[in-house]
Amino acid sequence: MRLLFGSLFAFAIATIVGLGATYLALTRGAAFGALRIGAWTAWPKTGTSEADPYARANIARSGQLPIGLGDGVSFSAQTDDNGRFFDGRCDVILTGNTPTARFWTLTLYDTAGHLVANSVNRYGFSSQEIVRWADGSFEIVVAPRASAGNWLPTGGVERYLLTLRLYDTAVGVSTRAGKEVPMPLVKTMGCP
């Protein structure tokens, strides 16, 4: 009897720990080799044939095609610099610069990776469309209501994420976070 209870106990622990860890790994997007700069995270290795088993599982489950490292690198953020989750009802300001790249695009997705409907059919910016200051830096306003300058509408959704993709860039597997890879600062300004 003791043996039966004992093994049931051990199996229950095994199921909870094993499946729980798998679920967490898949929903949190865990993979090795993350490159974190401010609010932004990229997994350059996921775009190569050396992608680790966690990256492979995530790719298969989500149904997306990761961007190949010879093509570019994809950074994403779901919080501002203070760790506060993006809220589509607030004004979020991106300021600064991006690492050197031939082109970049910034896109707003809901948490499932779909574009967010809005009145002006604008889902993102490319590096060519952005209005810049004289020193080359820029400011992008991510907000529910129209705003002057580079306005990216949120459509008022509760949660969203921003993806900054650098194309033809030197940023890659060997990149370390530091001065040579500036990423835009992300601040939540006002919530109604």
Binding site: G18, P53, I59, D71
Partner: protein, 187 residues
């Protein structure tokens, strides 16, 4: 007490094994991965445009709306595949994915350094079977080795502003993907 702690430890150890096994097996059991999502629209060894993502409908999550895309679902069982695409004014890239959606090779227009990106895609065995003299002429030809017999070639052209999207689509429309003529079809 010691006994229960031991059982707890055993359980956690077993849990770790369960976790690793499920993570390893998952790519083989996924029914909604990108390859299967693209299969209904993409016949074998043919370039087809990928419909642009909209808020209501997108073939895959996290597609970049600034790009025009096309895909060639290749099958090397009948022989190597020849691929070519002209480069657009802004930015064009070609990425190769295995059957399990792993990007094993990607090249952009600048790295290709020509007006056309031209590549031969083959398995390691097919490359080893190339006649010697052909390998010599292959020096100025780009050969990509695929780790799997089937997979995806994804062609993407950037429209730096929405008005340039037709131009990017036109670039993509000129892409070609077909069995290499003269290759040994008996393989």
């Amino acid at each position: 007490m010691i006994r229960w702690l031991l059982l707890l430890f055993l359980g956690v150890l077993l849990g770790a094994i369960v976790h690793l096994i499920t993570i390893m097996i998952l790519p083989r059991t996924a029914t909604q991965d990108a390859y299967l999502r693209l299969s209904p629209i993409a016949p074998i060894n043919t370039v087809v445009p990928v419909p642009p993502p909209t808020p209501d409908r997108a073939l895959m999550p996290f597609m970049d709306p600034a790009f025009a895309g096309a895909v060639c679902r290749y099958d090397l069982a009948q022989g190597p595949v020849k691929f070519s695409v002209p480069v657009s004014l802004a930015y064009t890239s070609v990425s190769f994915y295995t059957r399990n959606d792993i990007a094993f090779y990607a090249i952009n227009d600048r790295a290709a350094g020509r007006r056309n990106i031209e590549l031969d895609l083959m398995t390691t065995a097919q490359r080893a079977d190339l006649p010697d003299e052909e390998d010599v002429t292959a020096a100025d030809r780009l050969i990509v080795e695929s780790p799997t017999t089937t997979g995806l070639i994804v062609i993407r052209a950037l429209a730096p502003e929405p008005g340039l999207m037709p131009m990017a689509r036109a670039t993509i429309a000129a892409a070609q993907c077909r069995l290499r003529s003269g290759s040994n079809a008996s393989r």
